[in-house]
């Protein structure tokens, strides 16, 4: 009898011990909730992160995962102070999304200093896996090098060999212009000029007139969100396309297509790494996502938040701890990635996630059969060619 009692006691102790081992993980979605990138990331990214947690099923891995959200207002100082506060007082283990390259660069420094994980989806600047690479950062969805090579490369090869850039005057715009210029020159094209405009500009007519007078065949838009929409909307008005010049929207999302309407946006060439209508898995995922975001279509940023969060949680489950950010990121690099949105892939030593990129063209109103039927797939850039080779990174993690 006494034996049974002590066995029961021991069993009870073991269950408590097992309970004590529950790994608590807190993921912070740091994004733009209220300004020009809010539709391209924002609440849609939060919904995606929550879906990743649900699909991961924390209870089955003896984990408890919390998601918290903050708005960085596109200001690097606000972004880094939220990150600092999250890491210091809120026990946040990883930050995801971080659209706006200037904010992402600032937060990357904080994550490295505090040894936490940073999973970038919404920011574009390729320096995150280049000179500014960090052992704590994974850059998931896309970057300026990829956009420049896929979109600009395709256009130059099809005869668009003279360029004029409209560039958003901050880290992202300049990085995108730099990377696209390199591609244009490398393919035998030339750049006739460029103009840097302030972020959140409303009237682009002056800049468009300068672009028109340059007689460049392609007007490269090294900007994003509302700035790109306004450039194209006003470009149509000023007869840019009617005059034989073409826009290259170097960063363009499906939400931007919806905001412009197919009538104005048709024929634009763009690159994304995810399209909601790609296959059954992406369509099923989109249907679930739309419960939170009715009437909208997810883009690659939001898909990237889902996939990056899911892979991060798998790595934490393997290590049974999220405390050491660098160790988790190392584990993420060791494990091959596999999710319904990007398929199978890897994360390189420099933190770059590798998957294929897709060159799309926006459909005309006649070609579009149902709401959200916006893209025609023009080309697939295979995973091993889509991103910058590591030898050209200048990333200290790789060279040392």
């Amino acid at each position: 009898m006494r034996l049974i009692a002590s066995l029961a006691f021991a069993a009870a102790l073991m269950t408590t011990a097992a309970h004590a081992q529950t790994t608590n993980v807190k993921v912070g979605v740091l994004t733009d909730m209220s300004s020009l990138y809010a539709d391209d990331t924002g609440p849609g990214s939060v919904a995606a992160a929550k879906m990743a947690v649900a699909d991961f099923n924390p209870a089955a891995h003896n984990m408890k995962v919390d998601i918290i959200v903050a708005d960085h207002q596109n200001k690097p100082d606000i972004g880094s102070s939220i990150a600092r506060q999250w890491f210091d007082t809120q026990n946040v283990d990883a930050i995801v999304d971080v659209p706006n390259s200037a904010v992402a660069l600032a937060v990357s420094d904080v994550a490295r200093e505090k040894n936490k994980a940073l999973l970038v989806s919404g920011a574009a600047i390729s320096d995150l896996t280049g000179p500014k690479c960090s052992p704590n950062t994974v850059h998931w969805t896309y970057d300026t090098w990829m956009l420049a090579h896929a979109t600009a490369g395709a256009l130059v090869k099809n005869g668009g060999d003279s360029w004029f850039f409209l560039t958003s005057d901050y880290a992202f715009g300049h990085a995108l212009e730099r990377d696209a210029t390199a591609v244009v020159l490398a393919n035998g094209g030339k750049v006739l000029g460029s103009v840097a405009h302030p972020l959140n500009n409303q009237d682009f007519s002056s800049f468009l007139l300068q672009a028109q007078q340059s007689k460049a065949k392609i007007i490269g838009l090294a900007n994003a969100g509302g700035d790109t929409i306004n450039s194209i909307k006003q470009g149509a008005e000023f007869g840019i396309t009617a005059g034989g010049q073409h826009f290259a929207a170097l960063l363009f999302y499906i939400g931007d297509v919806e905001a412009l309407g197919l009538k104005v946006a048709q024929g634009l060439v763009l690159t994304e790494t995810f399209y909601w209508d790609m296959n059954d898995a992406t369509r099923a995922w989109t249907k679930r996502w739309q419960v939170e975001r009715p009437g909208k279509y997810p883009n690659m940023n939001q898909a990237g938040v889902y996939a990056a969060t899911l892979h991060y949680l798998k790595a934490v489950a393997a290590l049974k701890s999220a405390a050491d950010g660098k160790a988790v990121v190392d584990e993420m690099k060791k494990m091959p990635t596999d999710d319904p949105l990007f398929g199978k892939g890897i994360i390189r030593a420099d933190g770059r996630k590798i998957h294929p990129a897709y060159l799309f063209q926006v459909k005309s109103p006649a070609e579009s059969k149902y709401p959200g039927d916006d893209y025609i797939l023009k080309a697939t850039i295979p995973a091993d060619q889509a991103f910058r080779p590591m030898k050209d990174d200048n990333c200290p993690l790789v060279t040392n």
Partner: protein
Amino acid sequence: MFEIFGVPSYALFGQLLLGLINGSFYALLSLGLAVIFGMLNIINFTHGAQYMMGAFVAYMLLQYLGINYWAALVIVPILVGATGIIIERLFLARLQKLDPLYGLLLTFGLALIIEGVFRNYYGSSGKPYDIPDALQGGHNLGFMFLPNYRAWVIVFSLAVCLVTWFAIERTRLGSYLRAATENPTLVRAFGIDVPRLVTLTYGFGVGLAALAGVMAAPIYNVSPQMGSDIIIVVFAVVVIGGMGSIMGAILTGFTLGIVEGFTKVFFPEASNTVIFVIMVIVLLIRPAGLFGRGI
């Protein structure tokens, strides 16, 4: 063709014209602000949100009711102006005897709420709105391609500005209004309903903001933050022109549009700050603004 600082003259003519077009938006928006401040002493921070509402209501009329641009030009200012009247009756009328700072805080708060509500329902990336068929296309002027719609914007807003100026400065109704601002008690003694006059004036100023919104819808992205992008510049225009001066607001609006246009050619990075540099200089030299009546 001759050159100025390395920029060919035809490029400058183009920029001059574009500056005038942008200036007409500044003029129209600052006109409403100047009317509201000059007559009511309210610093209307909701003005940008009301401009955005103008564009959105035009979008909604087209989307849900099939009402076109031309009808929207008439209907939208009335609808949005009516919301202005409600705001004046419910809130602003109660703040009349207090420091203008209270009105500023209230209207700023309202602007944030309105913008937030629209963002919640329509998202941040905006909605499409086409240029009306009659104004599609444009003309080649030799030095630039002028879209018909822009030509319409400049002519129409100039007309609206001049009519408003005339109504306030040269008509009997305008003189009642100005007298009511100077000495409400005395004007009431003559049997004029001053509170109603004040309410209608606020509604009119708001209607002007909404009208600018409808005119902006076909060329600018119709998004919830379109008002906050432009309102700070418009406030600078009003301050430079002299708070409350109607003609000052109109002239400064057009002038600063041109200055900004040229900045976009010679030093584009500074195009969103040049107006504030001018504001600082004007405030140092003439604190009441270029056309202000003194403090």
